[in-house]
Amino acid sequence: MKFLEKCDFHDAIVDGSPIVIGFIPIAMAFGILCKSANLNLMASVSFSLFVFAGASQFIAVNLLIAGASMGEIILTTLLVNMRHVLFSASISPKLSSQMRKDIPFIAFGLTDETFSVASLKDKELTNSYMLTLEGMAYSSFVIGTFLGYVLGGILPIIVQVSMGIALYSLFVAILVPELKKSKKVLILVVSSGLVNSFLTKLAHIPQGWSIVITILFVSFLGVIIPLKKEGSNE
């Protein structure tokens, strides 16, 4: 194993800010949705405070509006968040032994975004990096929920709608340096995009399952189909 430079607090601020940019408008939209569903402020903020899983919170409140049962909502939440099992398993070997004590917090703050950013970081992960990165994402989500509930749609609609691209751009920006390094990464990314498109658009598999199936299937193919690791630094 190569010795990598350690991530510091500064890295976390730089890497966390685009997540904040992406999270604020989403969290505000969630606050607005809660208000329209006649939830009180404390319950609305509690969703973000305790659950902290964007997509499933939207689904839950929409199901609540539709009159779904509590069991149904909880089951749907479990399904939508199953991919996190894979994320935690994947990032776990990258945490050093002195990071173990913070695992309860690191695990709580693991989202699509914090997982992607931290996993593809080209430096050794540290407690302060993980906790700062996740803390920024978490607090922006909680504060955004509060602001959305209290202020409603204060952002001009064009600004608000345009910010919908932010998290996708974030994912692209994390990937591009990796694509430059290795052809295998490109093949993995494109294949999973294709498999996921097929599953959601043609086979109509629910979103929660399709992403899990895609990750398992394509990662497995990556293991059994050997490719020359040209240009990769492994």
Binding site: V14, D15, I21, G22, L39, A43, S46, F47, F50, V51, A53, S56, Q57, A60, M70, I73, I74, N81, M82, R83, H84, V85, L86, S88, S90, S92, P93, I103, I106, A107, D112, S116, V117, S119, L120, V159, V161, S162, M163, G164, I165, A166, Y168, S169, V172, A173, V176, P177, L188, V189, S192, V195, S197, T200, S210, I211, I215, S219, G222, V223
Partner: protein
């Protein structure tokens, strides 16, 4: 406790446990090489699936704007090794296109 907080508690449990338990299953052990390799591919396959096809609906009702936004993000991250610049650049281009009525 009102019903909504019971729901939030339930959602907390089914969200937190999938995030937490794998750390204890995978940690500290020497994993088989194939499994280690499999776990190493997950960020890439996850990102592929998180971006495609979802990005196409990033700007509801404006697929072309979303596509241009992603292309700009791609180009900017190719030129500059940064996350903030592609994110802000793509938001900017989407705002521009939307205000032009696209």
């Amino acid at each position: 406790m009102s019903k909504i907080y019971v729901l939030i508690l339930g959602m907390f449990i089914v969200t937190y446990l999938p995030r937490l338990l794998p750390f204890f299953l995978v940690s500290g052990k020497k994993l088989p090489r194939k499994l280690e390799e499999f776990l190493r591919y997950i960020p890439y396959t996850a990102l592929g699936a998180l971006i495609i096809p979802g990005f196409i609906d990033a700007i509801p009702g404006h697929k072309i704007v979303a596509v241009v936004g992603i292309i700009i993000a791609f180009m900017l991250s190719f030129i500059r090794n940064s996350i903030v610049i592609p994110v802000l650049g793509s938001i900017g281009i989407c705002m521009l296109l939307l205000s032009l009525g696209l």
